[in-house]
């Protein structure tokens, strides 16, 4: 469904047709449209606070500084702010992702040694389009093409955990420092956990049929995309992701506002504070059966932090919820023997705990 820019049919089975080259004028037109759009975006973004004040205080007549007034202001300001950020970033990442396909990523990773491969795989996990339900086919595709097992795991850990939705929400609600910490430590966990699994030489804990599988080498040639089609990808990503996630964002911010108002300060400090050393492993364990996307969990995380929970503990909780999920384990059981699944959970879980303790110590 591409009402605006019909995506040209990629026809991998026959000779791919070269995309018609953009004329200089068309290129300039695209650049100008993009710049104008970006300018408009910033113009609105910078007025959001004033607009929220107008809505809360002038229109609704709430008192500045009053409890309800501040809560409503918070909601009117944060909701459009986060949604606008999400739209812009998802659009940009959608365009970026049109340069990467799982096929291309596999080609890059197939010849790589471990260590270098682990780093590359974790980084490519961010930009390669990936739907969590295709984790198993992708796993098989990588392993049968000669991507080392540990490198494949680095990709599979990073792809769902380090994603633009998590980063935008962390940035919007908690600031760029927390977003950067999450991205760097998330990549770190993916790289180290994958590397460790590679060291453990667990290839024979793949299900037998996977190891015996001989796949005809089907050539799926790269499709050449025009810029119009790449913009189309960006728009499709916005429709898909923002269309799916906006309700969580609004609900999350509303719940966050409620906690903000009614849960006493320091309530979480005794349970999830720094002094409670046992809270990090508990946070990871509790996170495994909980399954949520980044959009649902981050507003909760913000509220926990505000009430005195320690950053490391909260990061560990969040990573565990997103990266280790029971449904994913059940699906992976199709290709992995139980022992490899146990090792996977164990190694990633320990990595996440290390992140938790690290930040509880240094911050």
């Amino acid at each position: 469904m591409q009402p605006i820019t019909p995506i040209k049919m990629p026809n991998p089975a026959t000779t791919p047709q070269p995309a018609p080259p953009l004329t200089a004028w068309a290129k300039i037109k695209y650049l100008l449209t993009a710049l104008a759009g970006l300018g408009l975006w910033f113009a609105i973004y910078w007025q959001l606070h004033r607009l929220a004040e107008f809505l809360a205080f002038s229109l609704l007549g709430l008192k500045p500084g009053s409890h309800l007034g501040e809560a409503v202001l918070f909601f009117f300001y944060d909701t459009p702010k986060v949604l606008m950020l999400l739209t812009l970033i998802v659009f940009a990442v959608g365009i970026l992702r049109s340069f990467f396909t799982p096929e291309r990523t596999r080609k890059i990773l197939a010849g790589k040694r471990e260590s270098v491969g682990n780093v590359l795989a974790a980084l490519l996990g961010i930009v390669t389009p990936f739907c969590s339900c295709s984790a198993v086919p992708l796993f098989i595709g990588f392993v049968t093409a000669g991507v080392p097992l540990g490198v494949t795991f680095s990709f599979l850990i990073s792809a769902p955990m380090v994603n633009e939705i998590a980063l935008v929400l962390l940035y919007g609600l908690l600031g760029w420092k927390v977003a950067a910490i999450y991205m760097v430590t998330g990549l770190g966990v993916a790289i180290l956990a994958g590397w460790t699994i590679g060291r453990l030489q667990m290839e024979h804990y793949l299900e037998d049929w996977v190891r015996e599988l001989r796949v005809n080498d089907v050539d799926i040639p790269d499709e050449k995309l025009t810029w119009a089609e790449r913009f189309g990808h960006g728009k499709a990503a916005v429709r898909d992701i923002v269309g799916r996630v906006w309700i969580y964002v609004i609900a999350g911010i509303a719940v966050g506002g409620g906690i903000h108002g009614y849960v006493p300060e320091g309530f979480m400090a005794s349970i999830m504070g720094k002094e409670a050393w046992w809270s990090v492993p508990v946070a990871v364990l509790v996170g495994i059966p909980l399954y949520s996307n980044a959009a649902g969990i981050i507003p909760v995380v913000q509220a926990l932090l505000e009430k005195g929970a320690a950053l490391g503990t909260v990061l560990a909780f969040m990573m565990s919820v997103i990266a280790l999920s029971l449904p994913e384990m059940v699906i992976l059981r199709n290709v992995l023997k139980p022992r490899l699944i146990a090792v996977f959970i164990g190694v990633v879980g320990v990595g996440i705990m290390l992140v938790g303790y690290l930040f509880n110590i240094i911050i």
Partner: protein, 77 residues
């Protein structure tokens, strides 16, 4: 014509199947549509990003839901 929609069964895979069925009906083509969700079968087709559409043994698209326009164009050939 033999159409296979490969995908383990998430929302996008169901969407891909729906679009192929609608396209076949619209084009009035005689075709069988089969939904393949077995991982082993999917892997044997050499496909590793889903949903994917295979028509008469030829891979038409991988890793995305095709648009109806695309689907109609494949059916005309």
């Amino acid at each position: 014509m033999e159409i296979k929609v490969l995908g383990p069964g998430c929302a996008k895979c169901a969407e891909a199947e729906k679009i192929m069925r609608a396209a076949v009906e619209e084009a009035g083509a005689t075709a069988t549509i089969e939904k393949i969700s077995d991982f082993q079968q999917i892997a044997k087709h050499g496909v590793f990003s889903t949903p994917a559409v295979v028509i008469d043994g030829q891979i038409k698209c991988v890793g995305k839901v095709p648009s109806k326009g695309e689907a109609l164009a494949w059916l005309k050939k």
